[in-house]
């Protein structure tokens, strides 16, 4: 499944994303990635990304997984890969179809966006 832009890269504040439908299938991973032209270089910025899931078409939502991150870590090398300092969260799931939404909380407004992708592995 191709990368889907959930939120365009022109936001600044805390908000809840639109619903992103994750199709059913075999074991899969989903990748959510923050995008920002400034976050990776600014250690004063931070955010929390909480992902909720619904297994009943959006009638009920429950917490699924989340991440907190602090800006400014662009250029860090881990296992030979240079990080851009942005959170790119990969989470496994059991293959059951679901809807998800992301709740993003930022400490200080900054320009950001969010993409999602269902990975084949």
């Amino acid at each position: 499944m191709a990368v889907v832009t959930i939120l365009t890269n022109a936001l600044r504040d805390s908000l809840t994303s639109p619903v992103f439908a994750v199709p059913g299938g075999g074991p899969r991973h989903i990748q959510l990635r923050m995008t920002s032209p400034t976050y990776g270089a600014d250690p004063a910025l931070s955010f929390a990304l909480q992902v909720d899931q619904s297994l009943d078409g959006g009638a009920h939502w429950e917490h699924w997984f989340g991440v907190t991150s602090q800006g400014g870590s662009a250029g860090q090398v881990f296992r030979g890969v240079v990080s851009d300092g942005l959170a790119d969260v990969t989470a496994s799931f059991d293959g059951a179809a679901r809807q998800i939404r992301a709740v993003i909380t930022v400490n200080t407004p900054f320009v950001w966006g969010l993409t999602g992708e269902v990975l084949a592995t």
Binding site: G66, G85, V89, S92
Partner: protein
Amino acid sequence: MAITKVGASDATNSGAATSLNRSRTATVIGNVIVIASTCGVRTNAATISDTQGNVWADCNPDQDDATLGVRVHSWYCHAKNTTATTITVASNNSSGFMSMVLDEFTGTHLTAALDQHAEAPVGSTGADPVSPAITLGADNCVVWCRIGANANPAPALIDGTTGTQGADTGSNDETEYRVLTGRRGASVTAAWTMLSAGYTLFVASFKPPLLNPTGPFPTSRPDLP
């Protein structure tokens, strides 16, 4: 009842994070939930907590691997409830790579399931990692192991037979497990085949309830006059 893995295993990682969290609902009170984490920033040890107040104990203690540039740790708890809890691993560092992998087992000892554990030395390298051996203290244990590497390894051989994949981040960290029959007193390893040079590796065993303890009965009762 034999030990079995329940529910889907959970795995989460991020290229840059200060903490990761994951919701989990145990199927049975007393189930073992085991979690391992990797942090790419090594200044401080990671810590674990959850919203339900489960008591987390070390499974494999904090290991600071300067050679590989990671800090790894695993913990386990006995689920105190069967309602959802959010489990958080905090790196206690500035933002960096993080991962957490989670497996849950039922049919284990309800209050003291951890049997043995061992960790590969820091700076371990080699194409075919083998864990340090653990000598099982009980029959019918589940042997759980976790590897962190720069490649997806082939399934592990646990006590000489291919294990079952548990949690998998899809890139760097994964777990395997195998429920053994008998084998009390056996020396057991977990072995992988892969193409990566450096790795971190944990192995642990969790025992079932001791319903029918075996072994010699005391010939005297020193607690009696």
